[in-house]
């Protein structure tokens, strides 16, 4: 029984059902009435990622450092190379170029984990947290806990500023003149 002439791995030629070339190889010559296809391996820096009848392999793209690109997957004969923007930049499809990541304004923090090749996601600082800088990497930071430092809160925190602890220590070490002894 003749094997099925599946379109994925075969092609018809001269009324025959011939084998396509597997990924990583290209069709050097088509089948003949007496012989099947001749496939040869892709050359350096080339690939084909499907069963194919291409007479030439595809050229890997260039992860061009001059466009702030780095290779995240070098690819091989059967898989295309993948590039991404270097840290601090993200791929912008409008210009097909690497754009600086957005800086989160004070009151906002960069959502972690930071994702390679994606723009910063800025989220507002929740109660108890603040950010007083513009940054494309820093998250919101928690307010300082004055009591842990044995101090009082002189000024409350906001989403853009830390609390301000008083400079003097709390009553656990009472000041000398005001010692009061309860009966």
């Amino acid at each position: 029984v003749a094997p099925p002439c599946t379109q994925e791995r075969h092609y018809e030629h001269l009324g025959r059902c011939c084998s396509k070339c597997e990924p990583g190889r290209y069709l050097s010559s088509k089948c003949t009435p007496t012989s099947d296809s001749v496939c040869l391996p892709c050359g350096p820096d080339e690939y084909l990622d499907t069963w194919n009848e291409e007479d030439k392999c595809l050229l890997h793209k260039v992860c061009d450092a001059g466009k702030a690109l780095v290779a995240v997957d070098p690819g091989n004969h059967t898989a295309p190379r993948r590039c991404a923007c270097t840290a601090g930049y993200h791929w912008n499809p409008d210009c097909e170029c690497c754009r600086r990541n957005t800086e989160c304004a004070p009151g906002f923090g960069a959502e972690h984990p930071l994702r390679l090749n994606m723009d910063t996601v800025c989220t507002p600082c929740l109660l108890g947290f603040f950010s007083d800088i513009s940054s494309s990497t820093d998250t919101c930071r928690p307010w300082t806990n004055c009591s842990l430092l044995g101090r009082l809160e002189a000024q409350p925190g906001t989403n853009k500023s830390d609390v301000v602890c008083s400079s003097s220590l709390t009553l656990r070490k009472p000041p000398k003149e005001a010692q009061i002894y309860l009966p």
Binding site: E46, D64, A65, G66, A68, Y89, C97, C98, R100
Partner: protein
């Protein structure tokens, strides 16, 4: 149709004759002409249409440019064993102001023309600012095809 060899882009700013082209990979191909030392040699007399497309780019991650004022140019030139110095067939380009404020700059030039070429004559491409060349095969390439016999 010859595409720039991405692995061998020259550095520097001064005008440079590009000598490293792919001739058999990706879109690059060659027939009835020969590539030697980066020059496309004519094997058959004829009228040829010559063309070149050159892309320049700069991203801030590559550091500051020496100057924000640039002149980005391509010169397609002809040389031949019989005539010592080369001759300019086509030129194109632009003066540019690539300000440090922008993170990315890009500019492409295209030239094309119909020329009578003799066997033995060679076509090559000079560019300014070679270190700014875009190494992609769809960006920086040149080629020729014969249209008529002489």
């Amino acid at each position: 149709h010859l595409t720039i060899n991405a692995a061998n882009i020259p550095t520097g700013k001064s005008i440079f004759t590009l000598s490293s082209w792919y001739h058999d990979r990706g879109w690059a191909k060659i027939s009835n002409m020969t590539l030697s030392n980066g020059k496309l040699r004519v094997n058959q007399d004829g009228f040829y249409y010559l063309y070149a497309n050159i892309c320049f780019r700069h991203h801030e991650t590559s550091g500051d440019l020496d100057s924000e004022y640039l002149q980005l140019m391509v010169y397609v030139i002809k040389t031949s064993i019989k005539i010592p110095n080369y001759q300019n067939l086509m030129k194109g380009g632009s003066t540019k102001y690539w300000s440090g404020n922008s993170e990315f700059h890009f500019y492409s030039i295209n030239v094309g023309g119909f020329f009578k070429l003799r066997a033995g004559e060679e076509i090559s491409v000079q560019v300014s600012n070679p270190s700014l060349l875009d190494p992609d095969q769809d960006a920086t390439y040149f080629g020729a095809f014969k249209v008529q016999d002489i």
